[in-house]
Symmetry: C2
Subunit: 340 residues, 2 copies
Amino acid sequence: MRPTVHDIAAEAGVSLATVDRVLNGRPGVRRQTVERVEKAVHRLGYIRDLTAANLARRRIYPLVFIIPSGPNSFMRVLEAEIASAMQRSPIDRTSIRIETVPPFDPDAIVRVLDAIDPKTVTGVALVATDTEEIRAAVDRLIDQGVQVATLVSDLPGSRRVHYCGIDNIAAGRTAGNLIGRFCAGRSGKVLVVAGSLKLSDHMDRASGFAAVLEAEFPDLAIVGPVETNDDADTVGQAVGAALDADPAIVAIYNLGAGNRGLIEGIAARPARRLSVVAHEVTEHSRRALADGVFDAIINQDCGHEVRSAIRVLKAHADGLDPLSDQERIRIDIFLKDNLP
Amino acid sequence: MRPTVHDIAAEAGVSLATVDRVLNGRPGVRRQTVERVEKAVHRLGYIRDLTAANLARRRIYPLVFIIPSGPNSFMRVLEAEIASAMQRSPIDRTSIRIETVPPFDPDAIVRVLDAIDPKTVTGVALVATDTEEIRAAVDRLIDQGVQVATLVSDLPGSRRVHYCGIDNIAAGRTAGNLIGRFCAGRSGKVLVVAGSLKLSDHMDRASGFAAVLEAEFPDLAIVGPVETNDDADTVGQAVGAALDADPAIVAIYNLGAGNRGLIEGIAARPARRLSVVAHEVTEHSRRALADGVFDAIINQDCGHEVRSAIRVLKAHADGLDPLSDQERIRIDIFLKDNLP
DNA sequence: GCATTCCTGATTTACGTACCTCAGGAATTG
DNA sequence: CAATTCCTGAGGTACGTAAATCAGGAATGC
């Protein structure tokens, strides 16, 4: 049988109340007594029963998700995943609130972060643009004892406890490798389309992609990156213009959003034979893959990201460390055959 | 506040004991009263607090994993993942036992299955070969109220509650698609290496692969499948012999184990330019991918499979249904750039 | 020497559920 | 009509932990 606080009390020769004080770091225990209890804990291999503890203290974990508003499909899928996690709140003792903020607006994020009450919120997960003010606001929250995790795009240099997302440099490299191989032998140009190079994830993908092409596929030259602010129509126009202007383009890598526009741009020029790699499985990209318009999609499982964020924030709030294997978000490659 | 049994009792105008009898399906309650209670449950949206319930009944979930013994790297990794899950047993209230059985020996599996005591075991996860006797033994266990899930390889036609693994036809198709694209333009032959075509997963991969090549890459002809019983040395010899005998081979798909042998066979013939796709990330295959010997690895995340099996068995034991999204095992494609 | 503070023990209640016992009324059986 | 069975209520204890209260002893300060 697993040892309980009663066993610890007996083993250490102290009362239950003292064990409780030590275990929960409350004051009022002499240093020697603390050590006696800690030794007993160690000797018996005591592990606190978190479920019983949470029951006794009627604990719930109030969490806040901060994500961009706007039409970006990926973000809306993310929001749906959060909503679906909210339905399980009674089971996993969470209380989740979603805050949407205008995209590309650091100040709005800072305002939401600063409005968070550390007394009533245990954890925050946010999709952040990489700016100094946000970094500072995150660190302020951390100082107040709130657990903060970044979602989808990281905030390097901040003290966030965890990043729930993929390594975007590696994602860019993966795209480069795919396009390089799919173009096997053909030489020509690759059009790179991005949302905004001010987003660290987009920047990372672009540089990873460029590095692989340069090192391993010298016959392919990069055109771009073209910036589109993740707007589908802008993507469509940019792609159309580039294709018309440059017949040497044999491949397209869209590392940002706006796949609908990309698909339309390609569909309008059926004579071109192109290798196309894009990001994120959404309604549009899924169909494009099935139809052979896209050759591969690089994906991050945002359901996994949301569930992982919740687990990680809870674990940190309890002073545990999460399972790194389980929380690592993979860079999924989907061809039409392994689409889930 | 979430409603409790007390609220249900008050709402239904019955005593706590009666609510308890209804909720736990115990006898001694008139049909009308049962309905009154059930209506109250529904009206208040009562959800039983599983953690409190498990605490009260001191519940643990005794689980058994049945996996093949022998040197197969993938199975050893699987075993390590189970061992790692065992370390978390106190936290997730499981008690896990591993039973290893000689590979390719259906009778041994049946013996282990039949030796399971339904009174002391709530769930079983097994890596099964697809035979009639095993199917029957699984169904016997199900009839005794034991939850059974298949792991890695499914048992279609049995009444197992869940399959924790990938769609192997789709995996084979994915391999076909990759090899077809990697060989872009080159025509020639593809050597297919399998462990045993009596394993349904191997059979499925082979047929998925063949279907895609035939439909989409008619310039590539299949040689094989060669059967190797998943033995690395046999794989090495078979690959060497095939390459020496047939200079038209431009690609290899190893859909089974024994990657070490495959790597050796290829390394001994450095002049050949080959596209190679294999399964499962292990120590050997990881290095081969990094070194450019393999072009891609198709993988199933066996840590995920094990954790998923545990979650699913527990959920079914509690009469809940698991999150299908979370429990779906993806067909991972790894290039050297997105290797975790 | 007395009050104050600090440390500790003892005891109790609570969390939400399971499960047990006991008692009594209603309904059924003979 | 008595005996039996079925249904229900009341009440309690337990699970492992948190947290509160009260009390008493030791150490400290003045």
